[in-house]
């Protein structure tokens, strides 16, 4: 597919396929109300060694429909969208696209006929520019020479049309994750899209970017593009979905019209058990100020923050992506350099701050990115759990590890946190997201910590595991610990916190307590600031 015409800006007008695109299936009129479905899957099964990842799944998607795929991690959602995108061939069953059965579908063929997936793992080349990435594989050339200006214009036009605030000359590596996600979406829309697959597209977007993405999705829907949308977030699902299909353990649990189904029904279908409440009721008993900062600054990211957290309560920190909320607790723990201000633990100012010193002062930090900063994936659960405590008695004495004590402790914690599989020697790489998070949490119980800093504690884990994390926090707080909860999941902060700080551009702009902790209040502070900026 070289030499696609330069005016290939048809991503948003799928009813007019470019004249020179070589479609594998005969082009059918895009609008076929009452005719064929856009996509039909019949009894799709897919086995991987030792597991049936998909077991006789039926699925269909109409033109201009948004169909949400819902299920826990490992339920088969990823496998299913990979089958549709041509990454995995199904072992059994039929894939019918616009009335024609597709056989031997490859990712390349899928793209050619208008199936565009946006996966969570990005398919971007980090060292190339935005424009180069958008043109990758569909470069415009004449006599073998690239027409760089034309390609950049195409990228600019596309980004402008999407309303994405991105410079096409920027190198991907220098972009935030949210911006990389936007490039990935733009890339999917560059070709002639008829079926768009979005796999948790808002996971790293800010509220504003999310709204923009939703507007775009609405526009695509009006243009009769079918959309398969994978998400855990209830609010989005309610807002977007026409239909919702729930998978569990590779099996189809059911398909429901979005209008006819409640949140708790969906959760029940997903987990196979009744979930009465997502958020536990926490008995806050605020006591001594265990953690305090005065005028704390970190480079240009955190700017003079006065903040405190008391024993026996959860202190929430809310804010948009990039507001400095994560950097605040990272600086308190010693992972970001403090450029001004003080951190006080139990009223004592900390002269030097490093992770090792913080641990000794009773402060424990759970990083947002468990793979990068939390776990040694190739090492067993036991070593990962005991890492912060192994230098101390009773786990070691004079540099000798006491293996039996370590093993007993790990077993106890595995039991207490219901970690699965319950084998201390299993390498962490083989655990699911929720169980990896439990390994991290177990670490917090190996020493006598008083202050717990949670950085996005439920990112990438399913509802079942989320509830367990919340109950873990409840147990800690009710035992008298101070918890600081930094999260981009607003409901989480709202329901669990006793007090909430709202941060914006590195500053705390509000401190809310009790009845003032409402979504409206928090969002008002996000947007009030934004409006001021727009005005000034």
């Amino acid at each position: 597919m070289h030499g696609v015409s330069g005016s290939d800006m048809t991503g948003l007008a799928p009813s007019e396929p470019p004249a020179d695109s070589k479609l594998l299936v005969a082009p059918v009129p895009a609008i076929q109300k009452g005719g064929h479905k856009l996509l039909e899957l019949v009894e799709i099964s897919k086995r991987f060694p030792g597991v049936r990842a998909l077991d006789g799944i039926d699925f269909d998607l109409a033109h201009g429909e948004i169909h949400v795929l819902f299920g826990e991690n490992g339920a088969g959602k990823s496998t299913l969208i990979n089958v549709i995108a041509g990454t995995y061939p199904p072992d059994e069953g039929k894939v019918i696209f616009e009335g024609q059965e597709l056989r031997h579908l490859s990712p390349h063929h899928a793209r050619l006929i208008g199936i565009s997936p946006v996966f969570q793992e990005f398919s971007l080349v980090p060292d190339l520019t935005v424009a180069q990435n958008l043109s990758l594989g569909r470069e415009i050339s004449r006599f073998g020479f690239l027409r760089v200006a034309q390609m950049r214009r195409r990228a600019e036009n596309l980004l402008a049309e999407l309303g994405f605030d991105l410079d096409p000359r920027k190198i991907i590596r220098d972009l935030s994750r949210a911006h990389q996600q936007m490039v990935e979406i733009a890339k999917a829309l560059l070709s002639n899209v008829r079926l768009l697959i979005l796999d948790e597209p808002t996971a790293s977007l800010t509220e504003r970017e999310t709204l923009r993405l939703f507007a775009l999705i609405e526009r695509l829907r009006r243009d009769n593009v079918g959309i398969i949308y994978v998400s855990h977030r209830m609010r989005e699902i309610k807002q977007l979905a026409d239909r919702i299909t729930v998978l569990r353990d590779g099996k189809l649990i059911g398909s429901r019209k979005a209008a006819d189904v409640t949140e708790s029904e969906l959760l029940e279908m997903m987990t196979g058990r009744r979930i009465e409440v997502l958020f536990p009721t926490i008995g806050h008993k605020p006591g001594e100020k265990l953690l305090q900062t005065t005028g704390l600054s970190v480079g240009g990211v955190v700017d003079g923050v006065d903040f405190h957290a008391k024993a026996g309560e959860i202190t929430g920190v809310a804010g948009l992506v990039g507001c400095g909320k994560s950097e605040l607790i990272r600086a308190i723990y010693g992972l970001e350099p403090v450029t001004a201000g003080k951190v006080l633990i139990r009223g004592e100012p900390c002269e030097r701050i490093s992770p090792a010193l913080s641990l000794n002062r009773g402060v424990c930090y759970f990083p947002a990115d468990r793979v990068v900063e939390g776990l040694a994936l190739e090492r067993p659960i036991r070593e990962n759990v005991s890492l912060v405590a192994s230098r101390l008695p009773p786990l070691s004495s004079f540099g000798w590890i006491r293996r039996s004590v370590e093993r007993r402790l790990t077993r106890q914690l595995i039991e207490r946190l219901q970690l699965r599989p319950p084998s201390p020697e299993r390498t962490v790489a083989h655990l699911s997201g929720g169980n990896r998070q439990k390994v991290m949490l177990a670490r917090g119980l190996t020493r006598d910590f008083k202050v717990f800093l949670f950085d996005e504690p439920t990112i990438g884990i399913d509802v079942g595991a989320k509830i367990e994390v919340y109950n873990f926090m409840k147990a800690l707080v009710e035992a008298g610990a101070a918890i600081v909860l930094v999260s981009s999941e607003l409901p989480e902060v709202l329901h669990l916190s006793n007090r909430v700080y709202v941060m914006h551009r590195g500053r705390t702009v509000a401190e809310l307590a009790d009845k003032d902790i409402t979504e409206q209040n928090v969002l008002a502070h996000f947007f009030q600031e934004t409006r001021e900026e727009a005005a000034g």
């Binding site: 353990d249 992770p355 641990l359 040694a376 990962n384 230098r391 599989p421 655990l431 929720g434």
Partner: protein, 337 residues
Amino acid sequence: MSVMSVNREALMARISTRLSVVGLIPFLLILIVIGMMLVEPRFYSLPNLFNILRNTSFLAIIACGQMLVMIVGGMDLSVGATAALASVVAAKVMAGSAASYGLDPGLAIAVGVVASLGATAAVGFLNGLCSVLLRVPSLIVTLGTLSIVSGITLMMTSGIPVYGLPQGFIVDFGRASWWGIPAPAYVAVAVLAVVWLLQRTTLLGTYIYAIGGNPMAAMVSGVSATFYVVFTFVLCAVLAGVTGLLLTAQMGSGQTNLGGDRLMLLSIAAAVIGGTSLRGGIGRAEIVGLSALFLSTLTNALNLLRINSKKELVVLGVVVVAAVAIDSLGRGKAAVE
């Protein structure tokens, strides 16, 4: 977590270990032994078995050091040059102190050993410091020290072997057998035992694994990588030095071209074939020891079959690449969901 996915995980874990090279070693070793039994009776002569044992000992010690560096996520290309440095320094100091200062041979040996191990420790310190503090990849740092150290040993000796070692060092140690078994074997067993203990029972060993497994996670958990990484490089260099001393004692002279690139290649080969991960975090001394036995048996078999040393180098290269390939493919399979 459903029962089904637990089973899948268990299965994946089993598949990935089954595909690794480590499981193949005993099998291949037996294959070589049986093959040699059929074609070459000299393989079973006691002198030849002792020869294999000696070579295994040299290799196991230097490969243990290499393995530790690879566990923290590095690689040490300078081990061969470091062994040669140990050889030359030991020979010079022993010969010099016995001749010029009239030291008692025993004392001269002790001074020589301390001096040469000290020199190697300095090399390791330099390697570690540069790779941690200056953030130069260890592959490049040790390539540099390989050149530097080789240059220094050549300057010290002009490339001429250093003679005049105390006879006791050669006769009672290097070429000696204690209770019927070559002396280097005892040293190798001791080194393997110490590293094994270090890995299994000490905080140091645990931290080396943790840092190699995920340096960021170790840092967040309050483990200072600097000290442990530097220490690991020092340990690796000193173990290379021990190998250098053993070879010196066997040959009876200090040599600038003790094993050179071959020793370095073999040490990496033994570590990798012994299941040490190139990405860090994984590696066990006892298996590296077994892998050293395998490699020494293989090279010995090649020698007996009159495959000359040039062809042997080709075979070694192929074995190393194949070992890593099998390992990576095994891991790749396990990673696919």
